[in-house]
Subunit: 351 residues, 2 copies
Amino acid sequence: MSKLVGIDKNIDKLDRRRATSYDVAKLAGVSQSAVSRVFQQGASASKAMRDRVLHAADELGYRPNAIARGLITQRSNMVAVIISKLTNLYYPEVLVQLTQRFSEHGVRVLLFALEHEGDIESILEQTLQYQVDGILTAAMMTPAQLRTVDRIGIPVVFYNRSYNDELVNSVRCDQEEGERWLVGELVKAGHKSFGIVEGPEDSVVSAERTAGARRKLREMNITDITSVSGDYGYDTGRRCFAKLVAQRGSAPDATIAANDVMAIGCIDEAREGFGLDVPGDISIVGFDGVGPASYAAYDVTTVRQPVGRMTEAAISMLLERIENPDLSPEKRAFSGLRVRGGSARLLSDET
Amino acid sequence: MSKLVGIDKNIDKLDRRRATSYDVAKLAGVSQSAVSRVFQQGASASKAMRDRVLHAADELGYRPNAIARGLITQRSNMVAVIISKLTNLYYPEVLVQLTQRFSEHGVRVLLFALEHEGDIESILEQTLQYQVDGILTAAMMTPAQLRTVDRIGIPVVFYNRSYNDELVNSVRCDQEEGERWLVGELVKAGHKSFGIVEGPEDSVVSAERTAGARRKLREMNITDITSVSGDYGYDTGRRCFAKLVAQRGSAPDATIAANDVMAIGCIDEAREGFGLDVPGDISIVGFDGVGPASYAAYDVTTVRQPVGRMTEAAISMLLERIENPDLSPEKRAFSGLRVRGGSARLLSDET
DNA sequence: TTGAAAGCGTTACCAG
DNA sequence: CTGGTAACGCTTTCAA
């Protein structure tokens, strides 16, 4: 071999082509099918042959071509993960967990991110072209899109999105339940006027949360409600609180933010902008249970999404359906963890 | 057609197979090659034919199979993105931007996440099997791995990692420069004793940062240095500050944390745990410039990584090399944005 | 402009 | 257990 060093470079130049099972077969002096078998699960190859093949493969730096394999097996071993806005401090943990868990099952993650949930059409088209085995999405689809995907037979699991009138698989945190608890506790503790800081227009989650809060407020006969809307961000949270006060003439007893980050913004604005004591003068609550919500300076009263369990559920739900496409649809809703933080004045313990 | 409804279901059952260019060709009464051409860029097809094909394709819900295309063109149009720990609040923005930008160039992102940077071996193996056109990694590779990838001819761009003795492409934030500025300003403002809160053992970035800080401290003849290490998290930040005080007997004039989140933990612990005023009694600085660093309650003095520009640079660097593999290696280091926050007592303005 | 035919690198089936 | 051969769905010459 060392004799060929001079030529070697030549080969490298010409043969930038990656080694195929054919090359390995030739070098090992066996058939190509044999090579294929060695690199499979239920292989049936004699130890002698396996050794020769592996040795040759190693020599050539051979790796089975997953693309070609996918073509013949009709299984790409890739799933599409569609996220809408992971800028929210919240999704990142999910993503890491997702890719790792999927990876353990030999499944790769093809990631798609959209600015607005409306952009899903083109994304969906791409996922279909890439023959993904399944789709995990944190963005809604139109009924037409739903039907397209269904016709093709690709299982889809929705993450924190659900439909009333469609048969879909979904895993979500029960936003409404969480908000109802927050509102209930606040009212019970004597809060009479409320501010609501909504999330962005196109956020389904925000809509669910604020709707839940409103419903509960109505049931409790609270009518002093002011609302404004932001974009889930910190700065917007600050501005929203100011707007709330301006609109109402004074700060409401309690402010309900659609997420923790805006709640934190509200707290800062209340303290710095208006010299209010939180929770002495007013209460502020959020939703999500993200990291910063538990920083000592804020200690936000919130509902924490059980991210780990939700992700776990979503993954197994999708994997199951990839394995068995005829499984009937399933919707799983997880209750959030109730965090009685220090940003709201609530009655001692227990409901 | 409506006459066939009864059979239709049958077809659906049997023919769950997706429509191929062949099916379209048959329905449109043209050759398969024609169909292929219609779905390409530099197509050469008459309008008449194009119309018939598109119509047939629409009818059948045909979509070109990107996997098969990749097999023949030797281009998967996928890049692997390897991230090590995006739990750090920091990487998420990067990821979204990455996938969107790549997407604009018709490139899909195959995501891989590793717990520890050491796990990269198996990940790398996977990316190679999937015939990715390029790799963008936030994890180091061993020289052997580097050589493997190079031999195969897949361009790699390192994100916030670099090598002294290897020819690689990299985009990074100049951690050392940032730390040197922080230390310089602190010393100039009269701080004499220093605490250093390092990140996790296996974090290259943390190592670079603390090394930079130490070097500058030595140059400035500061010897009163105590150090502890954490895991980049908030809780660990709090514990680390307490440990620092315990080890030293009292709090150092200034504490340098390897990232913002730990800096925030330190601030909270200093205030709540020790009743210290920040920055009245002591100064605390971080690194990254993540969202929470600018929350009013913390206003961390830090160096913000120019994430947007770095990502942009990494993307074009990789795309260029996919287009032209023989481009010579390039290393780009961006200076961080110096944020004179309120968590440290510094001299007025200007250096 | 169009069609026929030859691959791309696998797996799957079927004899031996 | 092993080797030959036919797909998989597409792009790409090469003639017509």
